[in-house]
Symmetry: C2
Subunit: 437 residues, 2 copies
């Protein structure tokens, strides 16, 4: 009892020290970091738009039942759920697909098809914080609703790939699988649904020796287990075809997969590999699935995952083909940093320095004139004089400094200094706006 | 007991019906709404940048104590607070100033001054939902840290005003007050701090008759109460000066206020009114305060509020002059809609239609070529033929449609249709990229 109370005191004490710290697993972003993040977001956004996708947004929290309906009650252990003052069970969103499909079922079912939607949003998971894993993280994602033609899937996968390439990532690998074919392979081995549930996580983690043992435990002959694993691991089209021969549904799926792959090559110039071991570990995926990895990220290398799935009927909507992907925004940034990609760093166009107090009004006026032309302009607001101002202007990455003094002002002129070369010249005030562009 | 259990059943039942509804007081945003919101955000962002401000971001939730330290325990009734799985008391942020100052104290104190920071972020309040008030709402805001010169305040206030003007708002009014002058006016009447706390909300709501009665209850002579109210209500500079004459601090504050107002007129061409009844109802404001209203919004007309304040020492940082403002993003959009401002509605540049299945691959390829030039391009992914495709392209606001058929393709050509005029012409595939720009 006395130990317990001492622990309590200690806990309270350490808690007090953390009062004004950032919550564990979350991040603040400095101006430099935000400039990177905005640049990446804009690249992604403009790629989505070039593919005819349009942006939507949903709330930061949803009714808890939305997520348990999709992912089961176990998800509660990993999410930020809470009860609001009206007694509602809510949860910060752990992902964006469920909210988007809820939105679609609620308000967008009558929109012309195919509906192409993209979104950015912060998501929340109560996870042990580690490199590339945060409790608040940002995702990008999209959904195409209303078509299951191969060209639709090819375009979707190509977009995911181009999105990351356009952002500047060099080293990424795209893998494509098909869950319907995998399912028919399970059927051939007479593996029950429960047994599949045991195998799928092992396949997902490429623990193929464990898969082999489990298959034998489930009564699969050694030879059959070997050829199953051969197809899964090598993902050779002819081997797959051989394995599923006679299963008409699986043959049709493979034929569609081949059409998608052909379009990726010929129309989109996208490199890929077939990977039959992609399972995405989720009940609602079906048919085509794909993943994009940035190998430089090590253990947390997957930066994009998606495919065709069925979630609309579960949320009360009319069945419609749906596919989409989610993309880890933070991991994309991390991968860019590892590749030492030089994100453009914006400069301040002008720094305006009033030489004395009487020059302040004119300085602000000239600054405002330049802003009206779209230039970014800062003014010395500390009255620190020319020397210190030039030093500061240089420290914040300024292109040009404008010095405003009484003598020059009498001739309607100011001094313009190029911060790169150090060159200075007199310039008429009326000509200043011509500096923009 | 039986009544209680019936109520429980009823509650559970209505709850089940809401499972896949959006949480009360929150919103989904359609593509059309998002295009408006992004346009407004970009206008605001580029205005912030022209003033030399740089963007930062903080987490969606903070330790609860951060907000109670700033606003008192009463704030708990209005916010989304919850306990995480590690027993931490957290809260979805109800506003952005406290998190930003926490960030500054934690990581940015050593940055060169003045530090100019802006931010956008969603905030959360457990409030009765009504027009212009949501439980999740978006705010824009900024902070300037490290200077209290009049030119810094003038620039800050001018930026708030320009921000809303640049977004497209016509009808806004800017009011400026000063809490130090108000405070010295209270002192002259020998009003205690507790009495001030009673009066301030009444002044905030312009309930001047109640102020008059309260002043008399507090022992202020009728004549003195009248002249106090005359100054507060009419905000005439000469009357203020007369009232505070002899109070050196207040005279200095008024002189600074006059400098700020002069700069707003001469350097920034900004219209304003003095309003001594601005109190902002917050303990940590001091000195200059201002508000911008959009009168068209009626009861919820305030869209921006700010001023100088002192929060850094409370959060454990070294005292530094700080000023900033918060701007209601949702109310700004609402005011634009009331003013019937025409936000630019983006069009799709091209819609590409494969005339038959064999044309799909080439269609995707041409679409991709156009996207590579930055154009927004959609392709018929439903194989619905020319007629229906043209109808769809028109419904999604397409500029030009490209029809791809076998005969034209043999001559390396496609048919280009202007969706505005209906004109069609043959065009060589190699010339298609010249259509951009």
């Amino acid at each position: 009892m006395s130990l317990l109370s001492r622990n309590n005191i200690k806990h309270d004490f350490s808690y007090d020290l953390n009062v004004f710290k950032i919550p564990r697993g979350t991040r603040d972003f400095t101006p430099g970091e935000m400039e990177k993040r905005r640049y990446v977001e804009e690249c992604m956004m403009s790629t989505f738009k070039t593919f005819g996708y349009r942006e939507i947004q949903t709330p930061m929290f949803e009714n808890l039942d939305l997520f348990t309906a999709k992912s089961g009650d176990a998800v509660i252990d990993e999410i930020y759920s809470f009860t609001d003052k009206g007694g509602r069970n809510l949860s910060l969103r752990p992902e964006l697909t469920a909210p988007v499909i809820r939105f679609y079922v609620d308000k967008l079912q009558m929109e012309p098809k195919p509906l192409k939607l993209f979104y950015f949003g912060n998501c929340f998971r109560y996870d042990r914080p580690q490199k590339g894993r945060y409790r608040e993280f940002k995702q990008a994602g999209c959904e195409i609703i209303g078509t299951d033609n191969p060209e639709a899937y090819a375009e979707l996968i190509a977009m995911a790939y181009k999105l990351l390439k356009n952002v500047g990532l060099e080293n990424i690998t795209l893998s494509i699988g098909n869950l319907n074919i995998l399912s028919s392979m399970f059927d051939k081995l007479e593996i029950s649904k429960d047994e599949q549930k045991y195998l799928i996580p092992l396949i997902d983690k490429s623990q193929f020796e464990d898969v082999f043992e489990a298959l034998q435990d489930f009564g699969v002959e050694k030879e059959n287990a070997n050829s199953f694993l051969d197809v899964i691991q090598n993902s050779d089209v002819n081997k797959i075809l051989n394995y599923i021969k006679g299963d008409k549904t699986a043959e049709q799926e493979l034929s569609n997969l081949m059409k998608i792959l052909k379009l990726l090559e010929t129309s989109f110039d996208v490199n890929y590999q077939i990977k039959m071991s992609i399972v995405r570990g989720l009940d609602y995926y079906k048919g085509i699935v794909f993943e994009i990895e940035a190998p430089s990220l090590g253990a947390e290398k997957q930066i994009c995952g998606g495919g065709a799935y069925e979630l609309i009927p579960l949320f009360g909507g009319r069945e419609t083909p749906t596919a989409g992907f989610a993309l880890g925004f933070d991991r994309t940034i991390l991968a860019l940093e590892i590749e030492k990609y030089n994100l453009p760093s914006p400069k301040l166009d002008f720094y305006v320095v009033p030489i004395n107090e009487d020059m302040i009004s004119k300085s602000l006026e000239i600054a405002q004139k330049l802003r009206g032309q779209g230039a970014s302009v800062d003014v010395d607001l500390l009255r620190r004089g020319v020397g210190k101002s030039l030093k500061y202007a240089s420290s914040i990455n300024t292109k040009k400094t404008i010095l405003i003094g009484p003598k020059e002002l009498q001739e309607n002129s100011v001094t313009l200094r190029d911060m790169n070369t150090g060159d200075q010249k007199l310039i008429k005030i009326k000509d200043i706006v011509n500096l923009i562009g």
